[in-house]
């Protein structure tokens, strides 16, 4: 794939990443059917799920690249990762401002006594250094440490899926699907790691 095509692909992916957010904004103003009976819940769940989807997609990039030899995919990973951070940040913003109404006492109570919220909070904190170090300069500056640091995404994905699984009232098919996808991605990674170690 030539450079021009890759740049076009980047713009398409960028648009697709932020399309759900734009749709949510339209709905907030009453278009496209609106946000429904419980608009805060709708936004909270929509942003959270989009964030989790994007985290899993970034994790899938390397396996798909190896299997399909589509090397340009690696160049989309930063866009996807930053979009994931954006949605998780929006998820947390809706939670803090609209759901908890900026009542810090209730936020502290939630984060400290409700394990699924604790995990979500840790995942958000861990995403921050990844977003900050996502630039080319940072990548060059940190050299080998950069790859090490960005392996945090595995932990973040695990925390995110548990956070989702833990807050549903009963086990439904969706969190199970998320868990299975994560399991497949992690298995692939561990497998690859062991194979490479064996070769050395």
């Amino acid at each position: 794939m030539n450079n021009a095509k890759i740049i076009t692909t980047k713009y398409v992916v960028l648009t697709l990443c932020y399309l759900p957010f734009l749709i949510s904004i339209f709905k907030t103003f009453g278009f496209a059917g609106g946000l429904g009976a419980n608009p805060i819940e709708t936004l909270l769940h929509s942003f959270g799920k989009n964030g989790l989807n994007l985290i899993l997609i970034t994790l899938a990039i390397t396996p798909i690249r190896r299997l399909t030899k589509l090397n340009f995919l690696i160049r989309l990973r930063r866009i996807l990762g930053l979009a994931a951070f954006f949605y998780i940040l929006m998820h947390a913003t809706v939670y803090v401002i609209l759901d908890r109404e900026l009542i810090w006492q209730s936020i502290i109570e939630d984060v400290s006594t409700r394990p699924y919220i604790t995990l979500g909070f840790i995942a958000l904190l861990l995403l921050i250094p990844l977003a900050i170090t996502s630039t080319n300069n940072m990548q060059r500056l940190l050299k080998k440490k950069w790859a090490k640091l960005h392996q945090l995404i595995y932990l973040i994905a695990i925390l995110g899926v548990i956070h989702y699984f833990w807050q549903v009232r009963i086990t439904t098919i969706e969190p199970i699907i998320y868990s299975l996808i994560l399991l497949i991605l992690l298995t692939y990674r561990i497998n690859f790691y062991w194979k490479r170690r064996g070769r050395l």
Binding site: T28, N38, P39, Y116, I170
Partner: protein, 320 residues
């Protein structure tokens, strides 16, 4: 095939809330102007039996109704937990059209005189329906204000005449995978079951609803007959009842079976007792918009005066 070809209600057919709230004055005005009497005779002459859909006639007003702003009809009928039709809030409205509500029979058994299977219409006195506006508080920390149509559960219990061994009443929802896509998965214990102590059941607030907003209950709201217990979390108000069982022992209830730490038998609305995963101190009123503030939840959902005697000797923290 059991497909209910009921037509969807167009939004233009739904009574505006302001008109709905003022309808008794409209009727009064109509009577004084001599318009209404002919309409009333028309309704009476159309015959007996509970209507399949649409308006219910002859509803009296309960004096103690809440005077809070009603939750819009579209939210009351589109934002539901009815896991038999799916776990999403909009699933019941999307899927419940497959529920066949006529004929509908209810089995009565246990410690009771009138055992047997009854057509639900034989258990509903069409001439004694009343409208009650109750607060409705879901365990998920949201709430609505809903105008139900029905009659006190006590009336039904008096008619069925339980014996002195009946300490509890257990209710069952229909469990038919052909009509209810949700029960094909064992996500919860089916049939859905709920229960009350007999004292709770004969409390004047315990209500059997057959309608909402002056109309026959839409399927997603638990047609054709459901329970409404306004001082308890919403999941206690069991929908689409097919069996009522009077028992000596505390009966099984579905949510308690699913997770006894999170959902107890009593499940009284109580801001002091948190759900293990979220606080119950505040509630989000449905229909108030994106920037509305939550409101504090009241003990027994604000019905302390009517029900607190039931729990005088009970530790509400242990018996959640």
């Amino acid at each position: 095939m059991l497909i209910n070809r009921k037509e969807k209600i167009r939004s233009s057919e739904i009574t505006k809330e302001s008109i709905f709230r003022d309808r008794r004055n409209l009727v009064k005005a109509g009577i004084s102007m001599g318009i209404i009497p002919s309409i009333i005779t028309n309704i009476i002459s159309t015959g007996h039996g509970f209507p399949n859909s649409g308006q219910i006639s002859n509803i009296s007003t309960w004096q103690e109704s809440s005077d809070e702003k009603l939750t819009p009809y579209e939210h009351v009928t589109n934002y539901n937990n009815f896991y038999e039709f799916g776990t999403g809030k909009d699933d019941p409205a999307k899927n419940a059209h497959s529920l066949k509500t006529r004929p509908w029979s209810i089995t009565i058994d246990g410690e009771v005189e009138k055992k047997g299977t009854f057509d639900f219409e034989d258990l509903v006195d069409l001439n004694a329906l009343e409208e009650r506006i109750y607060r409705f508080r879901c365990v998920e920390a949201w709430s609505m204000v809903i105008p139900w149509v029905g009659f006190p559960l006590k009336k039904l219990i008096d008619y069925l005449n339980p014996n002195s061994n009946a300490k509890y009443v257990q209710f069952f929802t229909l469990n038919d995978p052909n009509q209810m896509p949700g029960v094909r998965y064992r996500s919860l214990q089916w049939p859905y079951r709920e229960g009350l102590t007999i004292e709770e059941a004969i409390n004047p607030l315990s209500f059997i609803a057959v309608g909402v907003y002056g109309e026959v209950l839409p399927n997603q709201n638990g047609a054709p007959i459901r329970l409404v217990v306004p001082w308890k979390y919403g999941f206690k108000s069991i929908k689409s009842i097919v069996r009522i069982n009077f028992t000596r022992e505390m009966p099984q209830t579905t949510w308690k079976t699913a997770n006894y730490r999170e959902y107890g038998f009593y499940s009284n609305v109580n801001p002091e007792v948190s759900h293990p995963r979220w606080s119950q101190a505040y509630e989000r009123k449905i229909g108030e918009g994106l920037f509305s503030a939550k409101v504090p939840t009241q003990l027994f959902n604000g019905y302390q005066e009517e029900v607190s005697y039931l729990y005088k000797n009970l530790d509400l923290k242990l018996n959640y």
